[in-house]
Each structure stands twice: as structure tokens, then as C-alpha cells.
Amino acid sequence: MIAFREVVRKNSLLLTKSNSYLFNSLGYVAPNAAFIGQDYKIQVRFGSTKHWNPKWKPFRRLKVIKVDLPDFNEAAESKNYSPDEVRAKMKERGMSPPRPWMERPFEISSTSDIFEPYVPPEGDGKASYISKEGAKQSAEMVSKKSKTWLAFRKIRNFDEDFEGKHFAAEAQKIYLNVHKAVSEKDKNTLRVLVTEKAYPEVTLNMRSRTIVWNFLDTIEEPRVVHARCTDVIQKENVFAQITCRFFTKQSLAIYDRFGRLAHGSEVVAKDVLEYVVFEKHLANQYGEWRVHGKIIPEWAPTNFETSYRTFRMSN
């Protein structure tokens, strides 16, 4: 935007009403010696169209009624507001805080943890029964079972038909059904087979991927390894947790969201040694044995073959 203005030349300097024009203008005219000392008008180009008297500017600004625009991306920026900041923001907007009697959700049909977890012996599943090592292990297991027997007795108070020997086979059926439901993404069946504590742990890894799982064979018969009974809040509200040991042959292939193999193989079978915890709410007449969790020992292998992840090395 170029404007033409008449400029009054006084003496030898190019003077305008505002002196800044001397430096901002595009058309600075050098003083001509012949015109020194005389007044005359010349046309000069200027790059800026700013008015020489900005007295109307604030009036023009006041014409637009100011609107406080809400920041729609405030929440999305996920700033961790302190409780006081949250209160202040809500107060600003004139919103009353949520009602103070917000109930804290809690589960009454399952516990939130595995009580007195079983510690699997190191080297389990590596030595056969025939070897010295294997025989010693099985002997140790039988002698340490005092608490487990007490737990069984307590379970028999509520459930007369309960037998420790037969439980393992029943437990394996539940265990296999859980895996089948996970591979089929059958959440309705899973609800019944798995406790409330274990449900999110199981379903989180089901999302956005396809799981192809096959049960092939039992290497060693499933057996009960550990049992405990606990009471929650009241003495009569008894929960029983039984840990079973499964040594089976399974094949697992996990495909990512786009159908590309991310882990495992459909063809290769693997020996799987697992310690699964089953829980039952004994005080509840409709309580069922459900999968509550898994015991992952410290000596379990952690080098799983998954799809590659590439990282940038820091300099």
C-alpha cells in the first residue's frame, strides 16, 4: 500500500508532522543544494498508511464489543491441575462442584489382590519327576501343605462336595474356557469366568488385536499347589483362593490391528508352565470358581519375540 503525500520542505531537512516518517518512508528525497533555505512542496511515496493522528484508534477499538472466547483445547492439553486450580476454574465459570457424597465404587463379589501368594520353586518344570531334583521338589510340596489343608477344610464347611484332587481338572476347564473367550473376544462369557479384579487385566490386551490361540496337549496333569482362605471386613465373609499349576502345550499368534503378525506363531507349539489363581466367594451361595490372577515367578523368561521397536540413540 503506497500513498502519496505532499510534504512541506523546510530549510535543508525533509520535515513532516511526525519525524519517524523520515526513516520509514520508501521515498526519502535527498536534499538538493539549490533548494536549501526555501519552502516548497514535493510528492513523496510512503510505504505505511498509518494515520499521522491516531486519535480515533481507541474509539474504533471500542466499537467492537469484547468477547471472552473459551479455550476449547484447555482440557486436551492435559495440564495437571492441582485441586485448588480445579476449584478456581470451576468457580470462574460459575459451576458448582460435584456433590460431596460421591460413592466410591467397590466390589463385593471379588477381592482386589492375591492373598499370601504362592512362591513357585526355582527350576520348576525343568527337571523331570524321575530325576533326583524332581523327586525332591514333589516331596517338598507335599510336606509344606499344612496351611493349604486348613484352607481346604474351611472350603468344605461351605461346600461339602469339594475335593482337592478333583478340583484341578475342573480348574483347567475354566482356564481353557478363559483363553478361548479371549481369542474369540467373547466378553459376555469372560465376565462369568473371570473375577472383577482380573477382567481389566485380561481385556486390556484383547483390544485392537487378533489373538489366535490353540490348546494342544497337557504335558503334566494339573495339580493344586496352594490354597488360602481369607475374610474381608467381616469374619463370615470368606473368600477362597486356590493356585493351580498347569504345564501344557499351546500355540499363540498375536496379530496387530492391521492383521500383521506381531508375536508368536500359529504353527509353533510352546510348553507353557503357569500358576493360575482361582477365587470363589464362599459366603455367597451363587459364588463360582473364577480366574483371579496369575503368579509370575521372578525366574520366568522375559525374552519374548515381538515385533521390532526401533529407538533413536541419544547422542
Partner: protein
Amino acid sequence: MYSMILRRFPGIGSGSLFQQSRQVLSAGGPVVAAPFRSISTTGMVALPYEKRLGPKGWPRYNSVVFPPQSLDEKRRPAYVCHMKTNIKYSPWKMWYVASFIRGMSVDEAILQLSFVNKKGAGFVKQTLLEAQELAVQDHNVEFRSNLWVAESFCTKGVVVKGIRRHARKRVGLVEYFHCHYFVRLEEGVPPKHFYTPQPDGPTLLQRWINDRRSQRVYGSF
């Protein structure tokens, strides 16, 4: 295009602020602790006192699960859809920025946007960086540079109306525009030409020759 089998998935992750405001007033979270991860799900997260505004359909494409591929099929490229809603910028101005990066590789787009002299460029760059993060963390993309901008577009968002005075008790409307910006990053090498390129000399010449050859003079001998 590939067939999209849309499934209804619940929104992943709740806003950190929403959880915090609950914690302020209640004695801690639920007993059965669910493993949550705070993902930057723009547009789906709202403060406790705010109604969820804006589009919800675009991030649903991230929940689509494709069936396992057979061995002879070509490896399906991963993609991630991301958006930023209600950016305080005009959608008509944002169109220039959105069109600019189409078909570029992610690194190229981010680099170029750093030097685009527009307010919208900052928001688009932020969205691209977030989308890149999501792709690597959630969508099994191995290399964060091996992505290109497959789709990039913007739409009109919330319009807040204000007024201004005119002379002689007349009133004028002032509209404060917001826009939504959507981007889809796809895994792989970008195509050589996303936009149809300017034809080169030989092509233009051939076209001219073809035109002349197909010319007919009617009424001639």
C-alpha cells in the same frame, strides 16, 4: 480402499482432569484399579463442567481391527487418525496449511511447517507430532519417520458470535471462527506425486500434437 469394519469401542482413557476432580472430592479411586494410560485424545476429553463438543467419528477409525493377513498378501500399511478440534483459527485460512502438507512425509511436513508464516501451522505441527507418537506407541509402527500424510483436511468448528457498533445506532455481526483439523498418517514411503504435477515439455507437446491431429475442417474438399 480397504473395507472398514467399524466397531463400537468405548472411549479409551478418561481425562486426567476429570479423574483428578473426582479424587479431590472422593477418598481415592475405585478399589479395582483398571490400568489406564492417559492418551492425548483431543476432542473426546472434557473438563467436568464442560459438554463434549466437536467431532467424534474420526478417532473411531483407530479402533478398526483388520483380520489376519495370509502369507501371500502384501503387508498392510499401518495408519493412525488424529485430530485437533476447535482451534481458534479460520477454517478458510487453515485450508492453505492443510493442503500444503498433503502427500509429504511426516518429517518433511514438520520441517516445512516450522517455517510457514501462519498461525494454523503451529497447530498442524503439534497434531502431526502427537499423531506420530500415537502411531509408534499404539499402532505398531516401527519407524516414526516411515510415515506420510495420507489425508489432511479441516472443517468449520464452533462459531462464537459477537457484535460491533456502527454509526447511527447500527449493529454489525462479528464471527469468531474455530476449525477442526484432521490428519491421517500412513506407514510407508510417500507417493511421488500426491497432487497431479505440472506436465513436462514432451507431454505438453504430445498433447498439442494430438489436438491438432484430431482437428477436423468441415465443409472442406
